[in-house]
Symmetry: C2
Subunit: 423 residues, 2 copies
């Protein structure tokens, strides 16, 4: 096998994992690694620190380097570095979902001009094989739906809330103590991370460029212990779901928000930090791929997998294989959240008035919303009642209008939560 | 894209599915289809029956045909036909697990000589992407364990037994009526089908040729309604599991038998005819791939997926890519069932004697078997007791010896079942 020269940008947990796994493959030569601190002690046996550099430009301009692995994250300076690398004819392997979601189009366009490829299995769902399968063995399919748990931190928090009857704040604190959540958890708990990933996965699944700016996004911070409890009683688990759908009219519906997932659904059974992707297409039907969505080792599996495939392609031909190239010529026509159809869970705090249920029923009816389940369990100490409504499939804008009308009514104190439901 | 000429051998449900899906891909030209009955009416729109032939030799010797798709099944005449096709320089795509399991080595050897490839995504787990991912994006991994539900018929039967408290015979009859089981169900219910598939999957996962003759195989016909009930009470589901393990000493443990699978395990949650593969490796960790294991459309997804990838490889280079070639140079050193270690479920029918539990405990202890759970629920009408024992991890030969000793004891009437346990 022909030897391939590689440069790595970023030498944190993931970069170190990639380095260690690559030691097994004799045909891969790591020529340089760009790090922040060249003097930091590295816990790697027989490590030759002379390949370290503090100047990543050395990697992206080195004429001997064939492939640049970027595992640093963030937009700046990753974007400029990869742009220069592609400009210099290098192939790219990256785990950087934020970069691909925000600036992927520019990079893929440049790569096409320069006849190089960008591979990114590690950017979506860590070690789960999904990007390459969609581009290769599943390529006969017209994919119409993706429903996925793509963020381990939020799945961990929601699992602990359900298992131990914790509030969001208590579960977040535990997750932070155990290293599952960062000190500033915004990127995870507000759904940004999942939205980057679903934008990438939807783009390759539907063969149309999905714009991150048009993805509706809602995190898990508003989920209460009461929501988790009510969901359980009704036969559901609450999960942060990244959703991508190709509608019959060719429009695309991509969003990230918590959902009540029916207990029998395989996604409801995916707990802790595990990720899972349900993909529906013709002719394959429904498949579900589950595994570790993050961590040095699973991520290294995907980065090195991309690298080994690319190395063998480069050995067979100078021309990259068609399935390694991303086409983003067509722009997805993404619909607004108001135009989506869903089943809903509505948690309503009502006064202890005889008319509350009647008013809820009337206002829902007036807004084309059929109620499938309604549950009220007694009156609380503050003389209010928690009423849970599950609706049949309804239009989001109708539901939002109904909620506004409900809030105008004297017997309705508050809409405690509105969540969407997956059966 | 360069046009590719294809011949199809077999035009039953799967062949027809493949034909239909291929109509969407302009660069694939189906030149000939070999059928049993050329005059049979085909329910396909605008079908040009002039491409049908009753003589499959016409396909495997046609110099214009680049790729032969074999979806006929069985050894004879499939083996001779594919041998001739490879000899004539054709690439092969096949869904024929029995052929690959029994005669794969000969075909792969010939293909290597002739510089052609054999692809077979559809032969294992229907529409679930597993063969190509193992050979490409997961190729950085040292895979150490596969535990899989690879036969839809038996999973359907076991699911119905559990859901509706049916006997094996009742559930089989329902499965036959609904078309999930064949009139002669032997190939499925005795584990042959699953053993073909695990031999193929173990071979590519461990990079050593696993011999079908050395795979221990046990079907589901001995599972009773009582076993299902006891398993449920102890927190398990019974599944037909195909197991492949790379042991620390480099030996390979491959077998097919029913197992009690702990309810929390993802495989326990896979019901009806669905298939699922748990794969463990370094660095990826554990991934679980779930989906439809049979049927015209899922199978067509995999056959056409192989075809599209191969067509694009042939466009880029005359040399097939390394990951498309199967290496079977090294023969797996497969261990016997007696040398395996497992946890066990033992269903013992004992006389209503004061000493039964004591004798079970003593005999297990004498044979190095630690009991983790023992359950007896009263005395039955015939004055015997059903005693269920779950053991800690023990050697199979020790367990078999203990069972022989137990049967010699006056208080033990019968060993009703011995099953292995996966926690």
């Amino acid at each position: 096998m022909k030897s391939v020269n590689v440069g790595i940008i970023g030498f944190g947990t993931v970069g170190t994992g990639v380095y260690k796994v690559l030691q097994q493959f004799g045909n891969i030569n790591i020529k340089k690694i760009a790090v922040k601190n060249i003097h930091k002690k590295r816990e790697i046996e027989n490590f030759n620190s002379s390949i370290l550099t503090a100047n990543a430009d050395e990697i992206v301009t080195d004429p001997d380097i064939d492939i640049v692995i970027e595992v640093a994250g963030g937009i700046d300076p990753a974007f400029d570095l990869l742009e220069t690398a592609i400009d210099n004819g290098k192939h790219i392997i990256t785990a950087n979902k934020e970069l691909l979601a925000k600036k992927g189009s520019e990079l893929f366009k440049l790569a096409k001009e320069k006849n190089t490829v960008i591979l990114y299995e590690a950017a979506v769902a860590g070690g789960i094989p999904i990007i390459m399968p969609v581009k290769t063995i599943l390529s006969a399919n017209r994919i119409t739906k993706i429903a996925a748990i793509l963020n381990g931190t939020t799945n961990y928090i929601l699992t602990k809330m359900a298992e131990n009857n914790l509030s969001y704040e208590e579960a977040l604190k535990q997750a932070q103590e155990l290293g599952y959540a960062e000190t500033d958890p915004t990127g995870d708990v507000e759904g940004f991370d999942a939205s980057y990933k679903i934008s990438i996965l939807s783009t390759i699944s539907f063969n149309k460029k999905v714009s991150i700016d048009k993805i509706y996004r809602e995190g898990i911070t508003k989920i209460t212990a009461q929501d988790i409890k009510s969901a359980k009683e009704l036969g559901y688990r609450i999960k942060l779901i990244a959703l991508g759908q190709m509608l019959d009219n060719g429009k695309i519906d991509v969003r990230v928000h918590p959902m009540l997932v029916a207990k029998k659904h395989l996604l409801a059974k995916v707990d802790n930090a595990t990720n899972s992707i349900m993909l529906k297409g013709y002719p394959v039907g429904e498949i579900v791929l589950t595994g570790p969505g993050a961590g040095a080792e699973p991520t290294a599996s995907s980065v090195v997998g991309d690298l080994l495939v690319l190395a063998s392609e480069l050995e067979a031909s100078d021309k990259p294989l068609p399935q390694s190239i991303c086409h983003h010529n067509e722009i997805a026509d993404q619909i607004e959240i108001g135009d989506t159809y869903n089943e809903y869970y509505i948690a309503i705090n009502a006064g202890n008035n005889p008319g509350a249920i009647g008013i809820i029923g009337t206002i829902c009816g007036n807004n084309n919303i059929n109620i499938s389940t309604i549950m009220q369990k007694g009156i609380k100490e503050d003389n209010t009642a928690e009423i849970i409504v599950i609706t049949e499939r309804s239009k989001e804008s109708d539901v939002q209008n109904a909620l506004k009308e409900l809030l105008k009514s004297d017997c309705i104190k508050n809409i405690d939560n509105l969540l969407r439901v997956m059966n």
